[in-house]
């Protein structure tokens, strides 16, 4: 495999109870790579091995140009020598230190060795600038004098993320950072994570089993099942695959990237253009030109052979049938259609699939009943 500059390579073999964890991943140099899978599929083990907290039987961990572990060459850096940031599921702040002292903990020890490629906005930064930048990026400036026990769950996680970022890691590892929080707290943190994705140059490896977090955060997606990589690639491409669906049931759907193209103040709607078409949705106040991602669930998409007339559904787009596959229930079929360069999934009944005479390569129309805007 060729290695692009800035890309990372993670190859691990770890014997586990019941199965063998064997992954070989090439991660892009920026953005969020989501490691997705059910509990016990080995996601956390991958993170722990990358951080050096656990030792793979055979492993190669190369982050950019730096080799952290290469068992073939007898290289294994201990965790404290790996310029990594790790956010654990529960915030694990040092309870005996204030928030400020927590965020400075890694800083004092931080000469991470090698050339420093500052991940925070502004490029290469001094240590204290990195700290200030992390504190403002996570909005925890007012919490610095508090003790961890005086923080809410969401605040604790933000402090933990800032603490990890302050060390200017080459790679940020996040192990289900929202799993221990209730729904309201999750919604409170997600915008901060989206902000990190959009403003940081640091690549992130994000472990989750939540479809919602996956859809909102993933640029790149790796699906793990019993220690094996089941699917890997750009998130939109992996999610629109129907041969081995990543998300089943009501979670199945496609991901579109676009930007706000037009706003209609009279009806409180906005038009989001993506590669292949555009969709009208509820105006959430974002300015024209703002980049957004859309999630279109398969259950909200229906197919017609002619252009729909007189329908309450605002969004219909010309499409081409790409493929189909049986869905979980025998009465339904999952159909993958292309709209320009983008892919959508539609869940329809097997009976309409047959009565409409749908087949591969055929031109048709999709009607989209509802679209979720994910910023």
């Amino acid at each position: 495999m060729t290695q692009d500059a800035g890309c990372s390579r993670i190859r691990l073999e770890v014997p586990r109870a019941g199965f063998e964890l064997a992954v070989d991943l090439a991660l892009p140099a920026t953005g969020i790579t989501v490691l997705f899978g059910a509990s016990g599929s080995g996601k956390t083990t991958v993170l722990r091995c990358v951080a050096g907290l656990e030792r793979a039987r055979q492993g190669l961990v190369q982050i950019g140009a730096e080799v952290w572990q290469d068992d073939a060459a007898g290289i294994f850096l201990p965790t404290w020598r790996r310029p990594v940031g790790y956010v654990f599921q529960e915030a694990s702040l040092f309870e005996h230190l204030t928030v400020g002292a927590n965020t400075r903990y890694g800083l004092k020890r931080g000469s991470s060795g090698g050339s420093s490629r500052g991940g925070l906005p502004g490029g290469s930064l001094g240590a204290s600038q990195a700290l200030d930048s992390a504190i403002s990026l996570l909005g925890i400036g007012k919490l610095l004098d508090r003790l961890p026990s005086q923080l809410s769950g969401g605040e604790r996680q933000r402090v933990a993320i800032a603490r990890a970022l302050a060390t200017q890691p080459r790679l940020l590892l996040l192990d289900e950072p929202l799993a221990a929080l209730d729904h309201a707290r999750k919604q409170e943190i997600l915008p901060w994570l989206e902000r990190l994705r959009d403003e940081l140059k640091t690549p992130m490896l994000y472990v989750t089993h939540s479809a919602d977090e996956l859809a909102r955060l993933a640029d790149h997606l790796v699906v793990l099942d019993h220690g094996q990589v089941k699917a890997e690639g750009p998130a939109a491409a992996v999610l629109s695959s129907i041969q081995s669906p990543v998300l089943a049931g009501d979670d199945a759907g496609a991901l579109l990237s676009g930007q706000v193209a037009e706003r209609d103040p009279r009806w409180h709607l906005c038009r989001v253009a993506f590669d292949g078409g555009s969709l009208w949705l509820r105006d959430s106040g974002l300015p024209v030109g703002h980049a957004v991602r859309l999630r279109v669930l398969a259950r909200d998409v229906s197919i017609a052979t002619g252009e729909p007339q007189a329908s309450s559904i605002q969004n219909h787009l010309p499409c081409t049938i790409e493929s189909s596959a049986p869905d979980a229930h025998p009465s339904q079929v999952m159909v993958r259609v292309s709209v320009g360069a983008s892919m959508l999934l539609a869940r329809i009944t097997a009976r309409s699939f047959e009565s409409l005479g749908l087949r591969q390569g055929m031109n048709a129309w999709v009607m989209v009943k509802s679209v979720a805007l994910l910023q």
Binding site: W80, F94, H96, Y105, P148
Partner: protein, 227 residues
């Protein structure tokens, strides 16, 4: 003055012995407790049992073996003689060695529990923040174990002040050298000097209570939840 000079001397010696024992125990017990809380070695169980042994043995048994071992024909005695320290039985140093061994489980167990309660996570977090293991131990694991360390200190101090059997066996009750309050009281009672025994015994109760109260007030856990 209800307390005789001898009694005052015994009090001073008791406090000296208890303070030194506590200090030594914290230094010795902390690494043992850390090792016991972290190791997967097959020696863990035997070492753990050995450390806990003074908890169940009658003090006279411990005192007897220490007397033999530290005596001129004992293994440790020959060592101390060879080192030019003389023999330790019936000296303050001997008393100190006995007290440290006698109270070892009272120091190791609370610290070990404190380390076990925090789990491996704080040390892992520290490592991901670039702290070397020794640095992480002193900056994270030890401060987080503070309640356990305070408990260990309280118990070691109190247990040493209250010890009698080991002191008698290995110290020999020599005034000004190895006669502590507990053996002094015993002497008073033997000599039917009940008034003096009362003053000393009552003072002991008061002192012990005060020390325990002060220490447990200090023990307030860090980072308590503020409502």
């Amino acid at each position: 003055m209800p307390l005789s000079g001898e009694a005052l001397q015994a009090i001073r010696l008791t406090l000296e012995l208890a303070s030194l024992t506590t200090l030594l125990l914290l230094l010795i017990a902390t690494p043992i407790a850390w090792w016991l809380s972290a190791t997967r070695s097959r020696w863990r169980a035997p070492v753990s049992a050995l450390v806990t042994l003074p908890l169940v043995l009658p003090p006279t048994v411990l005192g007897f073996y220490l007397l033999v071992a530290l005596g001129p024909d004992g293994l440790l005695g020959r060592l101390t003689l060879a080192l030019g320290w003389g023999t330790l039985p019936f000296t303050f140093s001997g008393l100190l060695v006995g007290s440290v061994i006698f109270s070892l489980p009272f120091a190791v167990l609370p610290i070990q529990h404190a380390f076990e309660a925090q789990g491996t996570r704080p040390m892992e977090v520290a490592a991901t923040l670039r702290a070397r293991p020794l640095d992480a131990f002193f900056s994270v694991a030890l401060p987080l174990a503070r309640p356990g360390l305070v408990t260990a200190a309280i118990l070691s101090f109190a247990h040493t002040v209250g010890e009698f059997g080991v002191v008698l066996m290995i110290g020999g009750n020599i005034p000004g050298k190895t006669r502590v309050v507990s053996t002094q009281i015993y002497g008073h009672v033997e000599a039917m000097e009940y008034a003096q025994a009362h003053w000393l015994a009552g003072g002991m109760v008061l002192l012990s209570f005060t020390v325990l109260l002060a220490l447990s007030l200090m023990k307030r856990p860090v980072g308590r939840k503020v409502p």
